[in-house]
């Protein structure tokens, strides 16, 4: 290749001129095609975090409960008694838009592997989904494909999918978000890491054979979409959950023995990133014979082998002398397992093919010298004008019952049963609180403790104010856990944004990370793992910035778990918190008035922390029977949900407000949003203890009314049979999806 040709090829691999020069400097010679391919995937945005690293460093990652922070396959937190929880959330946005079923399925497969490589048995999956507006011609197809793909993979693996969220907005018309999260349980003394230590130790390849699928998947995920994106379908991998189930069982069986040094999933950038990352973490080198790699197709080249993203594969380093023992376990499970190389101590990656050395790269410079950009940031020009709300131009209806019915059946607030009914959410017999509540609650067999898990982000808030919006995401997740009787331990983040080369997008990113960091510090919730997905843009239109938060909380005694639904007629209903509701940035404004504007509500994090503590005490002492945070849709929606989730019981509520004639302020009371606010119910005999506890903790508490049978009455404005509301809520999702 001439110098000009080489430069051209580098460009086609997505490497900038500057990056190409850096490669020449590192090697002190021209790279061959294979080496260029390796540089391009290792330095892709997806693998190198080159635009985001500088900001991610500012997030708090430590705490006494943290066993493993960011940088490994998953974060790990201590839950006591020798046990720990490993968890992580990851995006699979680009592939899922191109091929929703396989894109979403392999997203689940990837995050599961990240967790079980740590030695943890996965016990729960969650997913956070964003789609375009329901009327968009592609939305129904994408929702169907994504949900079926997640179901296909998770159900076959036998891991329950217990929670998540699904949000529709036109900003996702050209780029959907599929963020998958896995939570695993691991014994503290059996945690494994992605290490390649010990000179001469064998490097072992296990799992599916390598095919040509997914080559340059990581590069695809580091670019915007245009009209030709559909042609990228071949870069989407195909999932085989059956093989992964075997891989899971075989790996966990192997991990019971003392044969392993390190293990890593072959995810994005496959064999390249797994081998480089393992050696880099240990400061060692690796020599691999690519001819030994099990191949699905004939005629594959070293370039294709190193860049393939075939699924269900792992790379491991075993203790020398135990190769046969390791291979035996995989043979029992009918899986391919081959020694493909060995650990060296010179810091180089040497790849051989049919006896010849085909690539020779220094590991540390390639990993550590990966580009890091402090990209320019600029506040979007429409930020301040978006905060203006011309209330006078809006038409407010005084038929509040109709507005409530419209909202409770809307795409964003209707029941998600259509989704979670397709997910096996009860397998493994741990699910105590099923999907649909504020958070899912799992018991842990043979432990007194339980955990609650949730994922949250209000993308609209983040668009209108990324700093505040990201704070709301952390705040709401922690509140959802507290409403389940759980204390937040740590979070994983999945940061979905547009093209970071645009200053306005980079500004959104910087502000969101800043806001998230601040909320984490104030609430003492460290970030232990995460993922960044940039370039979520189509033809220049970016998505609403969406820093999704996945959070895990500890319930000290599973018997004291909390849930959303009202439990008994005659119980008293209270409101905790006194933040003033506003219509700005609300779901009401977006769905009823079709307006995305206003500034998201301000957030008193100190008060939120106090309310979280109060809820924990109230559940521990069994003073309350339900708790539910008031979020999208405001008080009327939250009250409805407490009634609706009582399901067959069909409990209602009776609330009385003072007479008011101003339609706009009534609308604000009913549908306005503010955080932190929580609805709790308690038995009549516990009213005074509850009020006393609130006073002692400095929590504003207001009696709103009582739980009754059959009707939701918000006097003097709303009176509806819960059964009627139930039908609208229950059918809403599917109705919107099917309407054209």
């Amino acid at each position: 290749m001439t110098a000009q040709d080489l430069k051209q090829v580098a460009q086609e691999h997505g490497l900038s001129n500057e990056e190409f020069q850096k490669i020449l400097e590192i090697l002190d010679r021209d790279p061959n095609l294979l080496e260029l391919g390796i540089f391009s995937v290792m330095w892709s945005e997806h693998c190198s975090y080159k635009s985001s690293k500088i900001h991610l460093k500012t997030l708090p990652t430590e705490g006494p409960q943290v066993i493993q922070g960011p940088g490994e396959n998953a974060g790990v937190v201590d839950i006591g008694d020798g046990w720990a929880i490993a968890f992580k959330m990851e995006s699979h946005n680009h592939p899922s838009f191109i091929e929703p079923f396989q894109g979403a399925a392999t997203g689940v497969g990837g995050i599961l592997r990240d967790v079980f490589t740590m030695g943890a048995r996965p016990i729960a999956n969650l997913n956070s989904l964003r789609f375009g507006e329901v009327k968009h011609p592609k939305t129904s197809y994408l929702v169907n494909g994504v949900v079926e793909g997640i179901a296909f993979y998770g159900n076959c693996m036998g891991i329950p999918t217990v929670g998540g969220e699904c949000f529709f907005d036109a900003s996702f018309n050209g780029n959907i978000l599929v963020n998958a999260m896995t939570v695993g349980l691991v014994a503290k003394d059996k945690i494994f890491k992605g290490l390649a230590e010990g000179v001469g130790n064998p490097v072992i390849y296990v799992g599916s054979k390598t095919g040509r699928d997914g080559i340059h998947g990581a590069t695809m995920a580091s670019d915007e979409f245009d009209d030709s994106s559909e042609e990228k379908r071949p870069t989407v991998q195909v999932g085989d959950p059956f093989t992964e189930k075997l891989l899971l069982e075989a790996c966990l069986e192997l991990m019971q023995e003392d044969y392993l040094v390190g293990i890593q999933d072959m995810g994005a950038a496959g064999l390249t990133s797994s081998s480089f990352e393992m050696a880099s973490r240990s400061g060692s080198g690796i020599e691999m014979n690519l001819s030994a790699v099990p191949m699905r197709e004939t005629g594959m080249t070293p370039y294709e082998i190193m860049l393939s993203e075939s699924q269900e594969r792992m790379l491991m380093v075993a203790k020398k002398g135990y190769e046969e023992k390791v291979l035996e376990i995989f043979k029992k499970w009918d899986l391919d397992a081959v020694v493909v190389g060995q650990v060296t101590d010179d810091g180089w990656m040497r790849l051989k093919w049919e006896g010849e050395t085909v690539a020779e790269l220094p590991i540390a410079p390639l990993v550590d010298a990966a580009p890091e950009y402090d990209r320019p940031c600029k506040e979007p020009e429409n930020l301040l004008s978006n905060w203006e709300m011309n209330v006078d131009q809006l038409n407010f209806s005084s038929d509040y019952s109709t507005v409530l019915k419209d909202l409770i059946g809307s795409p964003n607030l209707s029941r998600r049963r259509w989704i979670y009914r397709q997910y096996d959410h009860m397998i493994m017999t741990n699910t105590v609180v099923m999907p649909g509540s504020d958070a899912a609650v799992l018991r842990l067999k043979e432990l007194k403790q339980g955990i609650a898990v949730t994922s949250d982000c209000n993308s609209r808030y983040c668009y209108l104010d990324p700093y505040l919006g990201a704070q709301h995401a952390v705040a709401e997740a922690s509140l959802n856990l507290a409403c389940s009787g759980a204390k937040a331990l740590a979070l994983t983040d999945c940061l979905n944004f547009g093209n970071p080369e645009k200053p306005e997008i980079m500004w959104q990113f910087r502000e969101a990370v800043k806001g998230m960091g601040e909320a984490c510090r104030q609430l003492e919730i460290p970030v232990v793992s995460g993922n960044v997905s940039l370039y979520n843009e189509t033809k220049g239109d970016a998505i609403f910035p969406t820093p999704t938060v996945g959070m895990v909380g500890l319930i000290t005694d599973i018997q004291n778990y909390g849930s959303t639904a009202f439990k008994q007629s005659g119980d008293a209903i209270f409101l905790l918190g006194e933040a003033e509701a506003q219509l700005d940035a609300s779901e009401y404004l977006a769905w009823v008035q079709k307006k995305t504007c206003g500034r998201p509500p301000q957030l008193d994090l100190a008060m939120l922390a106090s309310i979280n503590n109060f809820l924990l005490k109230a559940w521990e002492n069994q003073l309350i029977r339900s708790s539910h945070d008031i979020s999208e849709g405001g008080l009327a929606i939250a009250l409805s949900e407490c009634c609706l989730l009582s399901l067959e019981q069909k409990l209602g509520a009776h609330i009385i407000f003072e007479e008011n004639t101003d339609i706009q302020s009534i609308t604000k009371i009913l549908f306005g949003e503010a955080t932190p606010r929580v609805l709790v119910s308690c038995a009549p005999q516990d009213i005074s203890s509850l009020q006393e506890l609130a006073r002692a903790q400095g929590i504003p508490i207001t009696r709103l009314g009582s739980v009754i049978e059959e009707n939701l009455k918000i006097d003097p404005w709303i009176d509806l049979p819960v059964a009627e509301l139930f039908n609208i809520w229950d059918a809403g999702f599917e109705k919107h999806l099917k309407s054209k």
Binding site: N155, L246, Q422, K445
Partner: protein, 232 residues
Amino acid sequence: MGDYTVMKIGIVVFPGSNCDRDTYESLTQQLGAQAIYLWHKNHDLQDCEAIILPGGFSYGDYLRCGAIAHLAPIMQEVISFAKKGGPVLGICNGFQILTESQLLPGVLLPNAELKFICDQIWVRIENDQTPFTKQIKQGSTLKMPIAHRDGNYFIQAEELKRIEGEGQVVFRYCNQEGQSSEKDNPNGSLNQIAGVCNIKRNVVGLMPHPERACEKLLGSDEGKQLFESLLG
């Protein structure tokens, strides 16, 4: 309550089985029974006195559900054990394997709405003469979860008439009050059939998961009655 540790129960593990552990844990921890795993490649039933084929996706079920599993080495032994009258229970994928093995009549087609369904449902006990229902009153209802994509029970019309006549229908989907109508049919099964037995009554298959309904904390402990019937 008898001594539940007397009977040894074998749980077959196929590659892709994923309810094997749930079944084992429910039997041993919730009922105090004695259970062991039986590996699909083996031929030895290890003196088990009852066999359970658990739920899951045996061999991935990329072909017809249960079609490959019924050819596994262990199945030869399970089939001859069943033919000798030994009690065999197939749950979900296990039920599909039993119909593929022709130990039970009928087939399980994809659900009518062509989607995986996970839900809490009720079934009515139609036959209390099997080893797994002998302590449950006929006509009573049990609340149990279902979780399957292929649970739509189908059988030729004359065969349907025959198995109904012979009392081979053991479980029927119903509402909470025990009334069974098309409204309470989650998957399109003929006559709302959720589970059947063979003529000799010793082989039973059902789509719902009794092993997931053994504790009130998880929503129901009514599935326990199947295992209590076997052990009692």
